[in-house]
């Protein structure tokens, strides 16, 4: 339970009053846990209610439907994080590589190493079923996060730290390993003995990424190599 507070005897006695205010957060936390563990469709509202220590009906006092619960989980937990990171970047003066590293490590501490890291799995799985939610997540999280990483890279290029490159695509590529770390943790990770060490993974990621960014692009694919798009 993230929040270690909440339990001094003094506060405890105002149980009823506190409950009412705390309930939504409690429910959301339980919902997050179960959604992440089972996926959206396989989650039973009973499970969430049980985990939150309330009856099934209580859920409906706070959230209109199962889908609304999922939406709330996403909205409540995700949006603030990107804003923090943006602020950090705005105030930072120093080498862009350091800023990049700082942001990645911050991501790890505030998101990746948190139960919140289960959310991307949820959304990837349900994006087709709830396009509106996917859109929301894209607009509120992915797009700003990409924006942020892009601005850091641009900053580095401007300062001559990084080699010039096409930024949006670069960001897409460089974001992938972070997201995959989340997904792995909540999908194959638990199944596999060769458990991935996230710290080693992050260090390696940073090394590779910053090495790549700081060297001029090699001409690696001759123009004639012709990678062409197909169907699908």
């Amino acid at each position: 339970m993230q929040n270690g507070a909440d339990t001094s005897a003094a506060t405890e006695c105002k149980r009823w009053t506190r409950r009412k205010e705390a309930r939504p957060a409690e429910l959301l936390e339980a919902a997050l846990d179960v959604f992440v563990a089972k996926g959206f469709a396989s989650t039973r509202l009973d499970d969430i209610a049980a985990k939150a220590g309330v009856s099934k009906g209580t859920l409906y006092l706070y959230y209109r439907s199962k889908e609304a619960l999922l939406k709330a989980v996403v909205q409540q937990n995700i949006v603030p994080i990107v804003a923090n990171a943006q602020q950090l970047a705005d105030q930072y003066s120093g080498p862009s590589a350091d800023l990049f590293r700082l942001l990645i490590l911050g991501w790890w501490q505030q998101f990746g190493n948190t139960k919140l890291s289960g959310i991307p799995k949820l959304l990837v799985g349900e994006a087709n079923n709830f396009p509106e939610l996917a859109q929301y997540y894209h607009d509120q999280v992915i797009q700003p996060a990409h924006q942020l990483m892009g601005s850091v890279i641009a900053r580095g290029i401007a300062a001559g730290e990084f080699a010039p490159c096409e930024i949006p695509t670069t960001v897409h590529v460089l974001f992938a390993p972070m997201v995959m770390l989340s997904l792995w943790h909540h999908s194959f990770g638990p199944c596999c003995p060769d458990n991935l060490d996230p710290i080693a993974y992050l260090n390696r990621y940073l090394t590779l990424t910053l090495t790549a960014l700081s060297h001029p692009n090699q001409k690696l694919i001759p123009d004639s190599a012709g990678v062409e798009s197909g169907q699908c």
Copy 2:
């Protein structure tokens, strides 16, 4: 019922024979389509049957259950792919960077640019519900694929093309963007206007990756920076 045609006895006979043998593959293809589009839980067997042009009961002549169908979809489609790639690598002689590039482009043509690319999304979403299946996929696909990429990198290091590095973690990091490309295509991609161009993505990925691999690692994170693992 799927076609009103009461065709001639002759063709009827041949078609039936062909049908019988082709059935399992037809069913799996239909299942793949629907599973990928809706996710496991939201897929109705009715939909798969309808798409395959058979009755719902027929599915059970070939597959014991919905879960078995999912397993079959995965097994049928995935296993062959890695073997091909391994063979290609074994026979290749030439620069490791070129081999790397070849494998990535092969992956794109045989998997990423195919409806098979929907499978990772499926498995990520259901790994917790079907650990056995996740294990299977890990053992049969992920592990061999990582093995392969690892051997290519080792080959490059041995030849002095790539800088020495810790291989397993590097592979994890470098595989991530490929998988994410699949996932993106089947989750957020359809929702978002700034549609990602896969070819540009792959080119940028190769450039960044091979640049990083071919340069000695910078000391980017001072030992004192202390990234420490937490809970979760």
Copy 3:
């Protein structure tokens, strides 16, 4: 909660006192409205509470259950009406046809043209579910009302104004159009463009009824015509 006004202590006090006494009546009025509009089962106590401007819990301070509320609605509203009519009839001296007409018009003004007219629909719909309530309504309302109309007809026959007839059955027949007017108003009426004009209906009803009552019965159905009862 229903109004933001924190009025002065003085009025506040008076209002509260008044409120307390008025509450049951207010609740019943709200209940009547909603029951009539939606039917018993489709009525939510929330709706009644909201309409009455109280919390749902308050309803239970005054009425044991939803069913009790329905009973109270019926009891509170219906009983007084027949008594008034009976009194009117007792005091009346004059042609029986005029008395008949007076009673019908009184019925219209005090009941038919009132939200009370929604009650018969309620009872018809729920009679099977609440036999005790149906019994109560029959004993307290239908039976006395029939009694009254019967006495008026008997009075007319005794005075030679009406032709002799079997009274109880006649009353049943002659009451039907009145009840139907209520029911129509609260069922098909609102759906249909050819809106029934109640006044024209009542006038026509009176004309037909009094014409029929004041003429000797024709022999309309030969004894041999044989209408025989069946099952059901």
Copy 4:
């Protein structure tokens, strides 16, 4: 079970084939029974299924929803009846009073004395909740039936048998006792000891009605009497 046929040994053996065709009718009959007994909202689909001897799921093979079931009950049972009556009237030559009587008695035998007589109660109770259904019933049943009765009265007036009158309103008034007989049967009737004899009721109704129709209207309500419309 209305239809005494259906059960010879020969037909019985084709059980499966026959079932499929017979099912909808069986379900509708069960639905009619339960709906009439309990009202729409208080009817559980389980009850209908049990009464029909099928599982709950089977209902959904034939009817999309509870509401659709109600609609089907109404459509299947009601519409044909009016058509029959219209045909009878079209072919009849003879005194209009006799035709009137014939139609009323036909109504009794084909509808009033049948479980179908429970339908009006249903519709009156649910008209507000399903306006579309009410509209349908009005258009398909009430309106044609009124039309028919109106044409009979017009025929009588034209032939000099009946006194001239305003027909639509008259029809409304004269239809009421028939409908009420149905409603009574399925609401208060079962609760009350003074059980109404339908045959006596019908005879009395016919006598009163035909007496009224065949005499010139008395001036019963002086113009000054002023029945005026009010609120509601």
